[in-house]
Subunit: 210 residues, 2 copies
Amino acid sequence: MKTLKIPEATIIRLSVYSRHLTEVDRKGIITTSSGNIAEGVGVSPAQVRKDLAYFGEFGTRGVGYNVKDLRQHILRILGLSVDWSVSLVGAGNLGLALSTYKGFRDRGFIITSIFDADPQKIGTMIGNVEVMPIEKLIEVTKQNHTQIGIVTVPGAAAQEIADKLIKAGVQAILNFAPVVLNIPPEIELRNVDLTVNLEVLTFNVGAQRF
Amino acid sequence: MKTLKIPEATIIRLSVYSRHLTEVDRKGIITTSSGNIAEGVGVSPAQVRKDLAYFGEFGTRGVGYNVKDLRQHILRILGLSVDWSVSLVGAGNLGLALSTYKGFRDRGFIITSIFDADPQKIGTMIGNVEVMPIEKLIEVTKQNHTQIGIVTVPGAAAQEIADKLIKAGVQAILNFAPVVLNIPPEIELRNVDLTVNLEVLTFNVGAQRF
């Protein structure tokens, strides 16, 4: 096995391909081609082939790809052939939205525990998960062998929460708080800024200016 | 003015640079360099120069960039030198989270109206905006000259809502519903799938497998 630097854009497209293949599979279609995938998701066939080529040889020349096999293979690449346990910290509006977000469960991300600092929220149920105090975060996250933490607390509390999650053994953190977190290099960190999505739109609306 | 295809990754980085420059400006720093910006946001100096070069010449050789000027220029490129009126449709958990999302207002995205189909929500206030029935969507969005619609309704309702938003004159739609929308080519559309963020993390956690 060699170490290759895979572009993040490729990983994001693999995620999109796998969703497309799930749909195609549901329709009972057995084989597909880079051309069909490309058309289904709006990229070029060459891009599809290039993205897949990072991970070895797939498909049969002149026959194409077996839909089920390719889908399984991509899910394995993305680390989605197993379920992931997720601790969510911050049961505000965004935390609530994420903990009931159907897409997470569909892709194998199971929110196994939810924590909040607000005594009024502690003990309430979100879906079938009870909101627990922050003081329980390390213990429960360790017990569950939780690999991923989602941080939706206010900016001022985010670093402390990230530290606790790392102490509890998570390997990856998805941060929605609008602050830069100090994280050891072995922990995967992804910051989500929802505003960026609007800015890509406003750029494109005004793009005729260039 | 010529038409250039600007990579989306460049637009997203410009958004990141402008946030960094806002911070630097707040600290009272007058000039900066591609090296400083690169270090501040975690890309290479060459990448910073390449991204900025799409939009002409900035800065002075040997002196660097004036922080305020460069920030203003990037905001203008992103279409953020003016405020944008936003209609939000769907006052569920995600809609609530977005309508109180501080980042939007900070960057000039003002949610001027909120709509929902649930009679129990209609008439309630979210911040200082009253939730209105879907029947009012076209009229109010037109009246406000709203340019952007955010769709956080269930998948089954999303296309109908998008059609109404377009009828009301929006130029761009940010779609959180897990469906493919049919949108005329002159309308800018961006689909947000929050799960992709987790999949980039799980890929990276397992990346030593390749």
